[in-house]
């Protein structure tokens, strides 16, 4: 079962910040500066925490994992936007045919 997580980080060193950003790209969607939206299984969460734990400075930096509950049926209840719209893409499969998504 996957849960949606917001992963937010505050990293004091630019080099580490860059590494954290790059690492997080493997785990989720870049939502805003220093905020990623991820869909984690319990294993993914373990893997992500481990990967970040190796990068950050444990006395200076902070990463927060905010659990927003199951992905299934989340819809747009949990996150609403003001300004630029936010949308969840919920499809049983990913089809890439070269045309932009309608």
């Amino acid at each position: 079962m996957r849960n949606t997580f917001l992963v937010c980080y505050d990293i004091c060193d630019d080099k580490r910040l860059r590494t954290v950003f790059k690492t997080m790209r493997d785990f989720g969607d870049h939502l805003q500066y220093s905020i990623f939206e991820c869909q984690f299984t319990p294993s993914d969460l373990v893997r992500c925490r481990h990967a970040l734990g190796k990068i950050i400075h444990h006395k200076e930096d902070q990463v927060l994992f905010v659990d927003l509950g199951p992905v299934e049926g989340r819809g747009d209840r949990v996150i609403t936007a003001l300004g630029i719209p936010y949308s969840v893409i919920d499809s049983p499969c990913i089809v890439v045919d070269g045309e932009p998504e309608s």
């Binding site: 493997d26 319990p42 969460l45 373990v46 299934e72 049983p92 990913i94 089809v95 045309e99």
Partner: protein, 576 residues
């Protein structure tokens, strides 16, 4: 190894005899923890040394016990040592305070025995539990040594015998076991109980007439107090990726697949979130992509532009050859093949009947009765040829009434008559000559792809079937498994896609005699197919709900159980 054996002999058999492993959050956390511990490896000072001993990640072996162990930490001084093993979880709570679990005690005792064999003195061992940050001492006494030595011998005997032990019954160990989706403990026990009932019923009621499985099952389900526990998740949440665009290039950067059109990135997809990749026609994959997907054990299915399933790129896959060996032996046994094939064809016909009942406006009772008759005939057919005949007749009856399930009214009178009418004339293929046939063929192609992948995942050779006989390049076993699911998944997808207008007459083009889908039509149909695969259905035997993707795997694993002789009859999947 010993730890697993004491925990569950079946787990031991899977992991150490068959080489099957599945990761869960728990095993992953343990592995990552050990990665850190193992980063530092120290030499272990000889027992004659006087100094203090504190060595991490020590690899030692013992000739007398024929054991080898990696010990996380060895502590002590002057030849008297204590092995320390790091455990992710928590100790067992007893009235006398925390205690090490039996499996951990056996493992520590084996480590102590090895240390003793190497000239150290060792009277005590320690299990360190990470969850509670507790050290739990284990005394290496005579009783524990005897038990451990016995367990070692039993494990060796089991591995040598080569027959898998039965699953634990209703054990609290199962729900968090990482192999539960492979082992199917409760499902296997449940099916194991079925044939016993069958023979009773046979003796008492019907002479040599065997009670049909579905009735038997209905009775068993009704009499059993509760349904089978659902130990495997209903959805795996991984989505398939289809790349259909002409000239697209799939590259990989980190753990992200980048799908590019010339230099423009069309879409990025994380490897961790997909279950498989299907590519259609002229799509290029970089070497890094193929390697990465093989490593992550995500199969790549290759289709022609028109949707013909060419093949599969897989990682090294399962190391387990035992199931294959059994499969090859059993495929030579005509009685076995007949038994499995009967069940498959009967399920297919019953499912066709169910589909008609559900979707046809007014299903002709004659047809329903006939289909029922043929399903029963299939259940007792004498030969594969006879089955083939029965299947053919049933299919003809079914497809004659297929149109009744397509609810598409005539379009507005003002429009020009569309080139295509979404009606099935008669079933034809290679090439399909009308839109409905094209959709059916495409759906079967997708389904055979999914079942070929499932066969690989379970450890079968997809090309050797029990009902479908050998033919070059035909995934016969995948087609065998597919029979019962043709109406439920493929036909149903076609009906839904047409009735809800996910595909429309304008989504087809004619090329010569063949009719095929346009790019947008294909996209719509793929969505419809995957939506169907994602639908939750109740398993008729076990009473829990899971999606079709999961059900396909469960059925394949049940067939594997039949092949290895753990359960007697293959229970086909039939919905009500």
């Amino acid at each position: 190894m010993l730890n697993e054996f004491v925990y569950c002999p079946r787990l031991f058999f899977y992991e150490w005899v068959e080489g099957v492993f599945a990761a869960s959050a728990d095993t992953l956390q343990g592995a990552l923890r050990h990665e850190k511990l193992d980063a530092k490896t120290d030499a272990l000072p000889a027992p004659e040394n006087d100094g203090k001993i504190h060595s991490r990640s020590v690899m030692l072996s013992s000739e007398t016990h024929r054991l080898i162990a990696g010990i996380d930490l060895v502590e002590g001084a002057a030849g008297v040592v204590t092995p320390v093993d790091y455990k992710k979880g928590r100790p067992r709570d007893t009235d006398d305070g925390p205690e090490a679990w039996p499996a951990d005690r056996a493992q520590l005792c084996a480590q102590a025995l090895i240390l003793r064999d190497n000239g150290y003195r060792c009277d005590e061992a320690v299990a360190y539990y990470d969850a509670t940050k507790q050290r739990v001492r284990v005394a290496i006494d005579e009783a524990l040594v005897t038990e451990t030595v016995q367990a070692i011998a039993a494990a060796r005997a089991l591995a040598a015998a080569g027959t898998i032990p039965p699953p634990l019954i209703d054990s609290p160990k199962c729900p968090r076991c990482s192999l539960v989706g492979i082992c199917l403990p409760d499902e296997t026990s449940f099916c194991d109980a079925l044939p016993a009932l069958a023979s009773d019923a046979q003796l008492l009621l019907f002479g040599d007439d065997v009670e049909p499985l579905d009735r038997l099952v209905a009775r068993t389900v009704a009499t059993s107090e509760e349904n089978v526990r659902r130990l495997i998740p209903a959805r795996d949440d991984l989505r398939p990726l289809y790349v259909t665009g002409h000239g697209l290039i799939v590259g990989k950067r980190g753990e992200v697949l980048q799908i590019r059109n010339r230099d423009k990135t069309v879409q990025e997809v994380r490897v961790g979130e997909i279950s498989q990749v299907s590519v259609f026609g002229n799509v290029q994959l970089t070497a890094a992509t193929i390697q990465g997907l093989c490593w992550a054990e995500k199969p790549i299915a290759h289709f022609s532009y028109g949707g013909w399933f060419y093949g599969l790129t897989n990682g090294l896959g399962l190391k387990n050859v035992m199931l294959r060996r059994e499969q090859f032996t059993k495929a030579l046994d005509p009685v076995f093949c007949r038994g499995v094939a009967r069940s498959m064809v009967a399920s297919k016909i019953r499912n066709q009947r169910t589909l008609l009942q559900r979707n046809h406006l007014e299903p002709p009772t004659v047809i329903l009765r006939q289909l029922k008759h043929y399903a029963d005939l299939a259940g007792s057919a004498e030969s594969l040829d006879e089955l083939l005949g029965i299947e053919g007749i049933a299919a003809r009856l079914y497809f004659e009434h297929f149109n009744g399930m397509l609810k598409i009214e005539a379009e507005g009178a003002g429009d020009a008559a569309p080139e295509f009418v979404l009606q099935l004339d008669h079933r034809n293929r290679r090439p399909p000559r009308d839109p409905v046939n094209a959709l059916l063929s495409f759906a079967y192609s997708l389904l055979s792809k999914d079942l070929t992948i499932t066969c690989h995942a379970v450890g079968f050779d997809p090309f050797l079937g029990f009902y479908h006989q050998l033919r070059f390049g035909r995934p016969a076993l995948a087609l065998d498994l597919m029979e019962g699911f043709r109406p439920l998944v493929a036909d149903s997808t076609v009906i839904t896609a047409i009735n809800t207008r996910m595909v429309q007459p304008s989504d087809f083009i004619r090329i010569g005699p063949a009719v095929s889908l346009t790019a947008s039509g294909r996209k719509g149909f793929l969505r419809a197919y995957e939506q169907r695969m994602d639908t939750l259905v109740t398993h008729p035997l076990f009473g829990y709900r899971a999606n079709y993707r999961r059900i396909l795997e469960v059925q394949a694993r049940l067939l594997a159980r039949v092949v290895t002789g753990e359960i007697a009859t293959y229970p086909g999947f039939e919905t009500r």
